[in-house]
């Protein structure tokens, strides 16, 4: 069985927000909710700027699921974390627990009263019958049931954002790292194993020995 995952390659993401737009369009996401967002770190600092597209990561040990007072979360056979909006009471606990800020709440009244939680479904809908009208209205389109992968990754112009079976994604990413000839985002590899001179895009200074990683 596949284990669905997202990978975002920071070397490729160009902060175009195509994934964000694709998601909003595909699912008619409620007003004020963004299931996916692009964050740029070190914005405008030459040589240090990196962008990442982030949404629900469908954790193996999902914190949202652990703290939900009505147990509305469930994990599918594909490893996708979904929730039942009919059970959700809008308490906000999943939002406090999630490290990625994925669960969001449309405002249902004055003073920030929360409606039913909404988050990325990995384009896999909800507990209703696959591709039924009720499912589409509550959770958006169920692309997985149609044999398609999430719209955000499909739309990604640089293929920075990948979605699908974790093993397949690992193979693609491993190949990219090999082509680059470096440790990539496997932290500390370049420092530990040195830098292959042939693969360097620019003249490389010898790595200072006292530098830690």
């Amino acid at each position: 069985m596949a284990r669905m995952k997202f990978i975002c390659d920071a070397e490729r993401c160009i902060e175009c927000n195509g994934c964000v737009t694709a998601c909003k369009n595909e699912h008619d996401v409620p007003w004020g909710v963004n299931r996916r967002r692009v964050v740029t770190l070190n914005d405008g600092i030459v040589g240090a700027e990196r962008s990442i597209s982030v949404a629900c990561m469908h954790c193996s040990d999902a914190p949202c699921k652990a703290v939900c007072p009505v147990n509305c979360f469930y994990t599918t056979d594909d490893g996708v974390v979904l929730h039942d909006k009919d059970l959700c009471i809008g308490c906000g606990y999943c939002f406090y627990a999630c490290p990625f800020g994925a669960p969001q709440f449309p405002q249902a009244g004055a003073f920030g009263l929360r409606g039913k939680m909404d988050k990325c479904t990995f384009c896999a809908g909800g507990p209703e019958k696959d591709t039924s009208k009720a499912e589409t209205e509550k959770y958006g389109r169920n692309r997985l049931a149609e044999g398609k992968l999430p719209a955000c990754a499909e739309m990604c112009s640089t293929k920075a954002l990948l979605a699908g079976d974790g093993d397949v994604l690992s193979d693609i990413y491993r190949e990219r790292v090999m082509r680059r000839g470096r440790g990539g985002d496997l932290w500390g590899h370049a420092t530990a194993y040195g830098v292959k001179a042939s693969a360097a895009p620019a003249p490389v200074q010898p790595a200072p020995t006292q530098q830690k990683s």
Partner: protein, 352 residues
């Protein structure tokens, strides 16, 4: 009095800080260097070790916001890892200890009832009544009591229903119950905060600690010795409940509850996590105390419930439980009836 109030404020602040420090203790897993330094390191590394983004990922883990075009609170934060600490404390330490403390208190109260039963008056009632609580005092008390009970029950449903009620009712029915509990909790909460403020001022004057309370406290009101320990209108136990329960826990639970109830002021997740832990822990302590208070006011002590229901107590009851207060009334230092309209309507003999 001012010095006393300031001391109590310090004590309540210490209690709140003790809660806070537990939650924050493990939360400092953010970046070890300032963000600008990490950006500089990344610049160097991009040249010296291309494709090594370690300094950037170090930054991603702290609550340092990057740029994002998505509006909202903390949308620029990639990873907020306080949630993990919150989850561990909420589902673990606080709920487990607080929950069992509540169960233990119920057992203690039950055992106490088995031991003492309802404590009856030693002397026969005289039939002469003294006004113990005015209508205003009773209304303040019962508004607090009713709102507290609604909040306690709905809060327990939300905190422990997942473990106890879902296996009984199933998901759908429990979800309706939880929706009802959450709505009641959110709307009754602010009313409770208002009512504890009013109750505080209504009962403040007669809850000032005195030397006599110390004597009552060290002997538990003569509970074990069986000796009579005189007390004022409120004994030391009642005063502790007033200051520790109504005031300190009222502030702790009330303020943290308001923070959680009105998420529209741009609170960050770490604020909500902290507020939730303080609220959960504080309210469980509050409920443990309330079990004792409710027990003494109903089953535990004959005459206590009717005192708060009708406002009247028998002279024998007053003499037995609050002798100093009784003597003051007898000596005319405190009027036996303080409600003016009541005096006019039905004169109650207090000095015959």
């Amino acid at each position: 009095m001012n010095r006393l109030l300031s001391r109590l404020a310090i004590i309540s602040a210490t209690v709140a800080l003790a809660f806070a420090s537990v939650a924050i203790a493990q939360q400092s897993t953010g970046p070890t260097l300032p963000p600008e330094e990490l950006a500089k390191q990344q610049q160097q590394r991009t040249v010296q070790q291309p494709y090594n983004n370690a300094p950037t990922w170090d930054k991603a883990r702290g609550a340092v916001a990057g740029y994002t075009s998505i509006p909202g609170v903390e949308t620029g934060v990639l990873i907020q890892d306080g949630g993990q600490t919150w989850r561990a404390l909420k589902n673990g330490t606080v709920s487990v200890w607080g929950g069992w403390a509540f169960v233990a208190m119920m057992l203690i109260v039950g055992a106490f009832y088995g031991w003492k039963g309802t404590i009856q008056l030693k002397e026969a009632p005289t039939g002469r009544m003294i006004e113990r609580f005015t209508l205003t005092e009773r209304m303040a008390h019962w508004t607090t009591a009713i709102t507290f009970s609604i909040l306690a029950i709905s809060g327990l449903i939300l905190a422990f229903g997942k473990n106890i009620l879902i296996p009984v009712f199933g998901f759908t029915v429990f979800s309706w119950l939880a929706t009802l509990a959450k709505t009641l909790h959110n709307f009754v909460g602010p009313l409770f905060v208002v009512s504890i403020v009013i109750t505080f001022f209504v009962f403040l004057r007669d809850n000032m600690p005195r030397a006599i309370d110390f004597k009552w406290l060290v002997t538990f009101g003569g509970l074990f010795s069986g000796k009579h320990i005189p007390s004022e209108r409120f004994n030391a136990g009642e005063k502790i409940w007033f200051w520790g329960g109504l005031m300190v826990l009222g502030i702790v639970v009330g303020v943290s509850g308001l923070v959680l109830n009105f998420p529209n002021f741009g609170q960050t997740r770490s604020t909500m996590q902290l507020a939730n832990l303080v609220h959960l822990g504080g309210s469980l302590i509050f409920m443990v105390g309330a079990l004792g208070h409710i027990y003494m006011g109903t089953l535990g002590m004959a005459g206590a419930f009717s005192a708060m229901k009708t406002g009247q107590v028998d002279e024998a009851w007053a003499k037995e439980h609050h002798e100093v207060w009784y003597d003051d009334i007898k000596a005319g230092r405190i009027p036996a009836v303080r409600t003016k309209s009541l005096t006019a309507a039905q004169p109650v003999g207090g000095d015959d």
